[in-house]
């Protein structure tokens, strides 16, 4: 059981690491451009709504956000262990619980768009 769990969380971590490596640099760059005052053209409401109103867009957005959260939860868990924190079950419960909550919230918001 523990072995299955380990492989399961590791595969989410690895998938999330690869997906975020591919798309997070460009996504954060776009948000940064918007933050520097060109929001109307770059991340307009209608543009975003259009991207997120079809199923392909919804699945992509959910996949990216969910896998990023599971990646971060798992990697922070191992990092905190490496930094000397020995409260692994609490860290795991908080991290994976947070990732699960974020996944459910992302799906909920996407269904409203």
């Amino acid at each position: 059981m523990a072995g299955i769990n380990k492989a399961f969380f590791w595969s989410l971590f690895a998938a999330g690491g690869t997906l975020t490596a591919f798309v997070f640099p460009v996504l954060v760059l776009i948000v940064l451009l918007a933050a520097h005052g060109n929001p109307a053209e770059i991340m307009g409401f209608e543009q975003m709504q259009g991207l997120l109103s079809n199923w392909l867009g919804k699945i992509a957005a959910l996949g990216i956000i969910a896998l990023a959260l599971w990646h971060a939860a798992h990697r922070l868990r191992t990092a905190l262990h490496g930094l000397g924190l020995r409260a692994d079950s609490a860290v795991a419960a908080l991290g994976y619980g947070g990732a699960l909550l974020g996944t459910v919230l992302a799906a909920y918001y996407l269904l409203q768009i």
Binding site: V28, F45, A61, I65, A72, T78, G84, Q112, I113
Partner: protein
């Protein structure tokens, strides 16, 4: 009893450069998590309608947020480069007797990275 060299549980990663780099790479996940939450926040704003979305965009322009986004940008590029450089080691591909060279696997990832980035920029309406 065999001798066990004492290793600090809280500062072992400072002992060697490669350990420190490993720890830094682990800590990029903080910013992966933060940016995922920013995306989730944006998603909730789109779901709530144009006014909420406008407010979200305005929140991004605050000086603290701009600084956070700059740091996140740098860390995400570092995460991508570091991730692609360890992928050939984590998932080596064997062809017959030989292993596919790591540079080929990493190179393929860079090509996909560039294509996906241009596609996302197009979809976002940057050009």
């Amino acid at each position: 009893m065999a001798y066990v060299r004492p290793v600090s549980k809280t500062s072992w990663y400072l002992a060697r450069r490669s350990y420190t780099v490993h720890m830094l790479q682990e800590l990029t996940s903080i910013f992966v998590g933060i940016f995922a939450l920013i995306l989730l926040w944006g998603l909730s704003a789109v779901a709530a309608g144009p006014e909420a979305y406008q407010q979200f965009l305005e929140s991004l322009t605050g000086p603290g947020m701009v600084l956070l986004l700059w740091v996140t940008t740098v860390v995400m590029f570092y995460h991508a480069v570091a991730w692609f450089s360890v992928t050939p080691k984590a998932m080596p591909i064997q062809r017959g007797e030989e292993f596919v060279p790591g540079s080929v696997i990493a190179g393929a990832h860079y090509v996909v990275w560039i294509v996906l980035s241009v596609l996302v920029l197009l979809l976002a309406g940057v050009f």
